[in-house]
C-alpha cells in the first residue's frame, strides 16, 4: 500500500479566504499546505461578488481589520505578483434615513479616530460632485477616497499562482467528504481524490461553512442566503467610486472594463443554497436605480447571476480555532463582505496558526465565543 499523503495544513475552500490564508501560510514558511476546492477556484462566493473594498464600518474592530486589508491590497501587485484591477476610487455611502444619518455622524467620528479620512457630504455637495446622481430623498452621504474595488477572481488566481510558486498545493474539483478526528484532534481528511493526513483543517468553505463544520460536529451558527447581482454593457469610465446605501438597499460600481455591476438585498429571501435568479430582482433594482442614476435608463443589462451571503448572527465573520476539536479552524460567516477583509484575515489567521497569536490585526473579537450569552453589537453597514 502506498504511503498516505500528508500536509500540515488542509484548507477547505478555494475562494478568497482559503487562498489568502494559503498564501500567508506559505509566506511564513508553512508550505506544507493544500487547498481543496470542490469546483473551480472562486466558484463559490468570491467569483460572484462585486469586488468592493470598504473601510467605512460601524464597529471599531471592523474598521481596523478593513484598514489593514487596504494596506495589503495596495501592495497586492508587488507582493503577490498579479494586477487585480485594484482602484481606490472611494466609497460613496448614501443615506436616505434621518436615523441612519445620525448613526453615520457617530461612525465617521469613530472612523476618523482610527485615522480614516472620511468626508461628510450634504445632498447639495453630492449633486455638485456627481451631477449624474439624482439626490432626491437623500439625507446625507459619507465618502472615503481610500476605499475602492478590485477584481475578486483575479485576486484568487493571483494568490493561487503564488501558493503554487512557493510550494503549496491546490486540488480543484476535489470535494472533502469527511474530516477525520481522533481523540478530539484532527488527523486527516477524506476527499474525492483520496485520503490526506494532516494536523490542521481550516474551514473556509463560505456558503457551505456549516455543512462542512457538521463533519466535525461543530455548529458555526451560519446560514447562507441568496443575493443577486447584475451587470450592464460597458460604458466609458466616469464613475470611479462604489456607490452604496444600506437604507436605500443597493450598491453599484463601474468596473475597469466599463460595465456597471450592481445589486441589492432581499428581506424575503429564505436561508438555503439557491443559485437561481429572479426577474423580480431585475425589476425592483431597475426601478430604483434608474431613479437614482438616470443615465442608466438607456443602458442595457447583459448578465444576471446570484451568489451566497454566508450570514452569521451579528453579520460579522466568525474566525478562530475550535476549542472542541483540536486542529480545527474556521474563517466563515462573512455576511457578504469576505473579499474585502480577506488579505487581513488571511494574514492574521496564518499568524495565529503559525505563532499561536496574531501580529498585525486583532481578530479575537471575531471568535465564536462572542455568541456565548453576550449582548451582540451587530454590524449595521451591510446591504
Amino acid at each position: 500500500m502506498s504511503e498516505v499523503k500528508k500536509y500540515d495544513i488542509c484548507i477547505i475552500g478555494g475562494g478568497i479566504t482559503g487562498t489568502a490564508l494559503g498564501y500567508f501560510l506559505c509566506k511564513l514558511g508553512k508550505t506544507s499546505v493544500a487547498i481543496f476546492e470542490k469546483s473551480y477556484l472562486s466558484s463559490g462566493s468570491t467569483g460572484r461578488c462585486a469586488g468592493g473594498i470598504r473601510q467605512q464600518w460601524s464597529t471599531r474592530p471592523n474598521v481596523r481589520l478593513a484598514m489593514r486589508s487596504v494596506k495589503l491590497f495596495e501592495r497586492f501587485k508587488e507582493d503577490v505578483g498579479m494586477d487585480i484591477e485594484y482602484k481606490q476610487g472611494g466609497y460613496l455611502v448614501l443615506s436616505y434615513s434621518e436615523e441612519e444619518a445620525e448613526q453615520f455622524e457617530k461612525n465617521v467620528k469613530m472612523q476618523r479616530e482610527e485615522g480614516l479620512n472620511v468626508e461628510i457630504l450634504t445632498p447639495k455637495q453630492v449633486s455638485e460632485r456627481y451631477p449624474y446622481i439624482n439626490t432626491e430623498g437623500l439625507v446625507m452621504a459619507t465618502f472615503c477616497q481610500t476605499d475602492g474595488h478590485a477584481n475578486p477572481h483575479k485576486a484568487v488566481i493571483g494568490y493561487a499562482q503564488a501558493i503554487r510558486r512557493m510550494g503549496g498545493q491546490i486540488y480543484t474539483h476535489t470535494e472533502v467528504k469527511n474530516i477525520d478526528v481522533a481523540n478530539g484532534k484532527v488527523i486527516g481528511i477524506d476527499t474525492t481524490a483520496g485520503y490526506f493526513a494532516c494536523d490542521i483543517v481550516v474551514n473556509a468553505s463560505g456558503p457551505w461553512s456549516n455543512e462542512v463544520s457538521k463533519l466535525v460536529g461543530v455548529d458555526l451558527m451560519t446560514e447562507s442566503y441568496r443575493h443577486q447581482i447584475l451587470v450592464t454593457e460597458p460604458l466609458e469610465n466616469f464613475f470611479p467610486m462604489m456607490a452604496i446605501s444600506f437604507s436605500g438597499n443597493f450598491y453599484m460600481r463601474q468596473t475597469l472594463h466599463g460595465q456597471f455591476i450592481m445589486g441589492q438585498g432581499d428581506k424575503d429571501e429564505k436561508p438555503g443554497l439557491n443559485f437561481n435568479v429572479t426577474y423580480k430582482f431585475e425589476k425592483e433594482l431597475a426601478n430604483k436605480m434608474v431613479k437614482i442614476f438616470p443615465f442608466l435608463k438607456h443602458v442595457r443589462i447583459i448578465r444576471h447571476w446570484s451568489g451566497m451571503y454566508n450570514m452569521s448572527p451579528d453579520a460579522q465573520p466568525i474566525i478562530g480555532a475550535s476549542e472542541k476539536v483540536k486542529g480545527y479552524y474556521y474563517a466563515v460567516g462573512y455576511s457578504g463582505h469576505g473579499f474585502m477583509v480577506a488579505p487581513a484575515v488571511g494574514e492574521a489567521l496564518a499568524e495565529l496558526i503559525v505563532f499561536g497569536k496574531t501580529l498585525h490585526t486583532d481578530i479575537s473579537y471575531l471568535d465564536i465565543k462572542r455568541f456565548e450569552g453576550q449582548v451582540l453589537e451587530r454590524e449595521k453597514n451591510v446591504v
Partner: protein, 618 residues
C-alpha cells in the same frame, strides 16, 4: 554692442554645417565662425530623418539622417565653432545684421566679413476645402513632431505628394505605428526614387497617381479626406471622388528656396522653376552677385542633402581662401568633381537644366543603365538587387566583402552582381539605403526569401505571416524561418519560408493581426490569449471566462463558448464532453433598464411559484 565675426553662417543644416567645417578647418580657428540657427537643435532637417541616406560613404551614405547630423555637429563643435540655437536672423540691414535670440528675448547685432546663407527651403502649401482644419500638416511638421518631439500627430494618414519626402514620411509613419491609407500624386508618375516608392508599396500603401485632394472632412478637426482623379489639365473628374477616413493629412507637395535673407543682402534673384522658383544668382563657387555673400544647399536650388553638403564645402573653402589669402583650389576642385559625379543621373536633370540657365553646365550620362536580368544560380543563397533607376548611390558596391557588386565608373550606375563572387552574406541587404536588395535561396520543399526589415516588433522564428508581393497584396501564407539581426545599422533581414515558385513574387510580409483570429468577438479575445491563460494552469471554462472576460460581452458567449471548449479540449487532452460547460445566464440579449422598468408597471411583480425557471450553475 555689435559683434564682429569673420564668417557668419545662417542655418545649421547640412550645407551650413559643412560650410562652417570647411571655413574653420582652413582658417585653423573655429572662433572666427559663428552659426546662427532657428531650431532647438542643430542639423536643420537632419535630426528628423530616420532613414539611411543615399550617396557614397565619403558623404555618409547608408548612415541615417539624424546620425549624419550628429556627426557633422560633433565635427563643427570640435573645431570650436559656436552654434547659437533658437536665434533667427531677422534682417540684413545696411549697418548691421540683426539676430533675434528667442531664449533671452533680445535682438543682437552682428557684423560679418563673409556671409554663408544656407537657409534651406520652405514647404509649399496646397489650396483645398477646409485646409485650415487641425490635422492638416506639412510633411516637415509631421517629421518634427514624430521624430524630433516624439509625438505622433495622428493615427491614420492621407499623404499628398509622391516625391521623396512624401514617400519617406509615409514609411516613417508606418515605422512609428501609424497607418497610411494612401498617397495621392497629381502627376502621372511617382516623383521620388522608385526604391522609396517600392518600400511603401510593398507595405500595402496604395499610391494613387493622377489624384488630388479636394476636401478635408471634419468640423473641429480632420476626420477624413475626399480625393478625386484629375484630368490632363489637373481638373478633378466628377464622379471619381473617394473618401478616406483619416485623422491627419500630410502635404508633401514640394519645396521653395527660402530667399528672404539673401534678397536683403542685395544679391540678385532669378526665377528658375527647375530650381524651385526664385533663387539667388550665383557662380560655380556658390558666390552670389554680392562679393562676400555665399549660398549653399536648398536655398541655391532644391536638391538633396548630399549635394547640399558638397555645396557647403565649396562655399566654405572659397570663403576661407579669401579670409586667409591661401589657395584651397585643390579641395575646391575635388568637391566640384564630386558634384559633377552626383549630378550625372536622370534625377538631376532638373537641377542641370536650371543651373544651365545661370550659365553653369554639368555633364550628364556616363553610367551603367542596363538592368541585370540574371537572377543567379538556383539553390544558392544569394542577393538579388532590385534597383531599377540610375540614382547616385553605391554602398552595395563598397560594402560587398568579395567585390561582387559593381555600379560602374559613375556613382549613378545601376548595380550589377557577379554571382560567381556572391557568398550570400547579406551585408549589401543591410547596407542598401533603398532597402532594394533581397536574399533568395531555393530549397527542396520551399524557398527562402530574405526581406530587409526596419519595423518593430522584429518577428521571432516560426511566426506565421501573410506573404505579400511588391504591391503589398497577400499572395500566400508563410512563416519566419530566421532573422539576421543588424543591431548597429538597424536594417535586419527577415528570412521567410515561401512556397516554391514564389521566390520572385514575395517581397514583404505582414504579421497576422489579432483581429484575424478572434475567438470572442465582443471582448476581442484571441486563440493565443486563451492558450496563454490555459498554459498558466487555468483550465476551467468559468475560470477562463473570469480571467479573460471571454463570453462576458453583450452576446453572452453565443459563438465563443464552444470554440473555447474546443481549445480547452485540445490543450488539456480532455474530451469536450468532460469539460464543464459553465453557466448560461439571463438575459440572453442585452435588455435596457427602461424596458425592465416598464414591465414593472404592467406586470405583477410577484415571483411565480409555478415556473421552474433558473439554471443550476453551482
Amino acid at each position: 554692442m555689435v559683434r564682429h565675426v569673420k564668417a557668419l553662417v545662417v542655418g545649421s543644416g547640412p550645407a551650413g554645417l559643412t560650410g562652417a567645417i570647411a571655413i574653420a578647418e582652413s582658417v585653423g580657428d573655429g572662433k572666427d565662425v559663428v552659426i546662427i540657427d532657428e531650431g532647438i537643435e542643430p542639423g536643420g532637417q537632419l535630426p528628423k530623418q530616420t532613414h539611411k541616406f543615399f550617396g557614397h560613404e565619403g558623404f555618409y551614405a547608408s548612415v541615417r539622417g539624424f546620425e549624419i547630423g550628429n556627426l557633422l555637429v560633433k565635427k563643427v563643435k570640435s573645431l570650436g565653432v559656436e552654434i547659437i540655437q533658437q536665434a533667427t536672423v531677422t534682417g540684413i540691414y545696411e549697418d548691421v545684421i540683426t539676430v533675434y535670440d528667442r531664449v533671452n528675448n533680445i535682438v543682437n547685432e552682428y557684423l560679418a566679413d563673409y556671409l554663408l546663407i544656407a537657409t534651406g527651403a520652405t514647404e509649399k502649401f496646397l489650396a483645398f476645402k477646409n485646409n485650415t482644419l487641425p490635422g492638416v500638416y506639412g510633411a516637415g511638421a509631421v517629421q518634427t513632431l514624430m521624430n524630433q518631439y516624439k509625438v505622433l500627430p495622428g493615427q491614420s494618414f492621407l499623404i499628398v505628394g509622391a516625391g521623396n519626402i512624401g514617400l519617406i514620411v509615409a514609411y516613417q509613419l508606418v515605422q512609428a505605428g501609424a497607418e497610411v491609407k494612401a498617397i495621392v500624386e497629381a502627376s502621372s508618375r511617382v516623383g521620388g526614387y522608385a526604391v522609396h516608392a517600392n518600400k511603401v508599396k510593398r507595405l500595402g500603401i496604395p499610391i494613387l497617381l493622377r489624384h488630388t485632394i479636394l476636401e478635408a472632412i471634419g468640423k473641429d478637426k480632420v476626420r477624413g479626406a475626399v480625393v478625386a482623379e484629375i484630368d490632363e489639365r489637373f481638373k478633378p473628374i466628377p464622379g471619381t471622388e473617394k473618401e478616406f477616413v483619416v485623422d491627419a493629412i500630410c502635404l508633401a507637395v514640394g519645396l521653395q528656396p527660402n530667399v528672404e535673407l539673401v534678397a536683403q543682402t542685395g544679391a540678385k534673384l532669378v526665377y528658375i522653376p527647375e530650381l524651385g522658383g526664385y533663387v539667388p544668382l550665383r557662380d560655380e563657387n556658390m558666390r552670389t552677385t554680392v562679393h562676400n555673400v555665399f549660398v549653399a544647399g536648398d536655398l541655391a536650388g532644391i536638391e538633396e542633402a548630399t549635394t547640399a553638403m558638397i555645396e557647403g564645402y565649396i562655399a566654405g573653402y572659397n570663403i576661407a581662401q579669401e579670409l586667409t589669402g591661401k589657395s584651397f583650389k585643390e579641395k575646391i576642385e575635388k568637391m566640384k568633381k564630386e558634384l559633377e559625379e552626383f549630378r550625372r543621373g536622370p534625377f538631376s536633370k532638373k537641377v542641370r537644366d536650371g543651373l544651365k540657365k545661370m550659365g553653369i553646365v554639368f555633364p550628364e550620362g556616363g553610367y551603367m543603365e542596363e538592368q541585370q536580368i540574371d537572377k543567379g544560380p538556383l539553390g544558392k543563397l544569394r542577393a538579388v538587387i532590385e534597383c531599377p533607376q540610375a540614382i547616385p548611390c553605391n554602398p552595395c558596391e563598397t560594402s560587398c566583402p568579395t567585390g561582387a557588386i559593381n555600379v560602374g565608373g559613375n556613382i549613378n550606375g545601376i548595380p550589377q552582381i557577379d554571382y560567381t563572387k556572391c557568398i550570400g552574406c547579406g551585408v549589401c541587404v543591410m547596407k542598401c539605403p533603398g532597402l532594394a536588395i533581397f536574399m533568395i535561396q531555393e530549397k527542396d520543399e520551399y524557398s527562402l526569401v530574405g526581406i530587409p526589415y526596419e519595423l518593430l516588433p522584429i518577428p521571432s522564428n516560426g511566426t506565421k505571416v501573410k506573404l505579400l508581393d511588391r504591391e503589398g497584396k497577400d499572395v500566400a501564407d508563410g512563416e519566419v524561418d530566421h532573422v539576421a539581426l543588424n543591431n548597429k545599422g538597424k536594417t535586419h533581414i527577415v528570412f521567410l519560408k515561401v512556397p516554391k515558385g514564389f521566390e520572385d513574387v514575395v517581397r514583404s510580409f505582414r504579421i497576422l493581426a489579432k483581429s484575424e483570429e478572434f475567438i470572442c468577438r465582443c471582448e476581442e479575445i484571441t486563440k493565443e490569449d486563451i492558450e496563454r491563460v490555459i498554459d498558466m494552469g487555468i483550465t476551467d471554462y468559468e475560470e477562463l471566462r473570469r480571467v479573460l472576460r471571454i463570453g462576458m460581452g453583450p452576446c453572452g458567449g453565443k459563438t465563443c463558448r464552444t470554440l473555447t471548449l474546443q481549445i480547452l479540449s485540445e490543450k488539456t487532452g480532455r474530451p469536450v464532453s468532460e469539460i464543464e460547460l459553465g453557466a448560461y445566464r439571463p438575459p440572453t440579449m442585452p435588455t435596457p433598464f427602461e424596458a425592465v422598468v416598464k414591465s414593472v408597471l404592467t406586470e405583477n411583480s410577484e415571483v411565480s411559484e409555478n415556473i421552474p425557471g433558473g439554471v443550476k450553475d453551482e
